[in-house]
């Protein structure tokens, strides 16, 4: 099996699996979910690192560093904000009557 085919199959499989899993997330948590997903989209950082490694010319290297900064901010900030949000969700301590 060619590498291209594997990559496309992985994409399809990941999309379907992700779709199924995310369907079970309640709308209560949609904002943290989205911001967590946003952080994950910073996975492109790996691509940036690989691309920057291959860069020789100074301007390419500089462009690479810019991309790495963008992606790192995306990842770090995304996960931290999600953590901040999720920690705020607290249940009631069984004193209120449940509907």
């Amino acid at each position: 099996m060619s590498r291209e085919l594997i990559l496309v199959l992985v994409f399809v499989a990941a999309t379907l699996l992700g779709y199924r899993l995310i369907k079970s997330v309640p709308s209560l948590l949609h904002t943290p979910l989205m911001s967590g997903m946003n952080a994950l989209s910073g996975i492109t950082l790996l691509g940036m690192i690989t691309a920057t490694l291959g860069a020789v010319a100074f301007h390419s290297k500089a462009l690479g560093v810019l991309g790495i900064i963008c992606a790192t901010v995306n990842v770090v900030s995304g996960f931290m904000v999600t953590d901040r949000m999720l920690k705020m969700f607290k249940g009631s301590e069984h004193k209120e009557d449940k509907p």
């Binding site: 992985v10 949609h30 492109t44 690192i49 900064i69 996960f79």
Partner: protein, 461 residues
Amino acid sequence: MNDTLYYVLSALLSVGVLLGIRWMSRVETAVNGNRLSALCMLAAVVMVLVRGGILDDSAIWLGLAAGLVLGVVLARAVRMITIPQMVGFLNGLGGAASAIAAWMTLQGTVALNTFEVATGALALCVGALTFTGSMVAAGKLQRLLPQKPIRLPSHQMLTVASFLAMLLGLVLVVVLPGQRLLFAAITLLGSLAFGVLFALPVGGADMPITISLLNSTSGVAAAIAGMAIGDVLLVSVGGIVGASGLLLTQIMCHAMNRKLSAILLGKGTDKPAPVPPVQPVMETPAPVVEAELPPPKDAAQWINDAQDVVIIPGYGMALSQAQHAVKQLYDQLIGAGKRVRFAIHPVAGRMPGHMNVLLAEVDIPYDMLFEMDDINPTMDKVDLAIVIGANDVVNPAANTAEGTPIYGMPVLEVEKAGRVMMLNYDDKPGYAGVPNPLYQERPNVLLLFGDAKESLEKLLT
């Protein structure tokens, strides 16, 4: 590190991310789910650094360190009310990074096959339009740009032209790979312009959909860039993010009764909001005079009388920062032995689930926050519905006013409750521009106009 080991580790990390998402489906495990995803990401970065043998590349370390510091500062500074623009902004950065990675792949010295050139150009295009689209959306949410739909002269034509330039560049990159940088540049410019033109006409109410959609494209951009670079982890994680954004977009579209295609083409929001279509169901409300309103002591009486209360927050609550006052009201009602529930409309706020975060921030228990479909069947047993800064999502005209933007949109049926108290800024229609029949004189509706926070504080004393 050989390829087999790399594939195995990539698969493991993908499973870790999926497990993290699974944990996100329950509040109790969500914090750990997010941390697991973050840990997998960290492991992935370390893996790439080791695999590339780049431990001594100072430029890469510089980029990582700068990004880390900026990211931490940003995450600590952000306020919960501004989460939508924060997510939009970070989305844009992710899109930009994917576009840069794709560009560097295309201009690199390594020989590329057709698949790599094609996916590289596509990643460039999706990443670039995610970048500009997200930045415009974030700018609108931050009020750096007007929140109203903006339409340039011959907007539709410009949109089509930029889209065609994007497409043409894509095709030519593949057909004539000899000139690939020139055509990639055409694609890049077309995509950047398309992102701007797509996001400018988006009005306030369509923002949740746009943010969800751009979230999806940022994932797709990463996945396609992964195909160009040949990195399987980028492809799998990017695919997951793409699916998530798409699912949320569908949920939002359904909740607003909008077709995705209409929003993509900037339709619907074109209708100038101040001139809504004539509605046969209602007469023009008489000009509201503040003095005509029942004195606030009635409000206190209504609250006293009610046993079963539903509170419906909207973006107006967030705008006036009334969450703490809402929490006080909640405590007071609970203290008086009443049953209190919060009803959250799926599109209340500026992104999916935004209201829940704002209420959780002021320590309102999350098990008191209910979805529309759970509340509506019980609405006729509710004694008092308190609407705080929400309009379109409780507008009964959605069921009757054919031809208006909200016709057919599922709404919270507050008119079925025994009494309704509306704490809105004024009696102007909401973003959709459809007048709300609840603003007409009705014996069981109490209107408290003004800043939501001030109105609440009056209620509390």
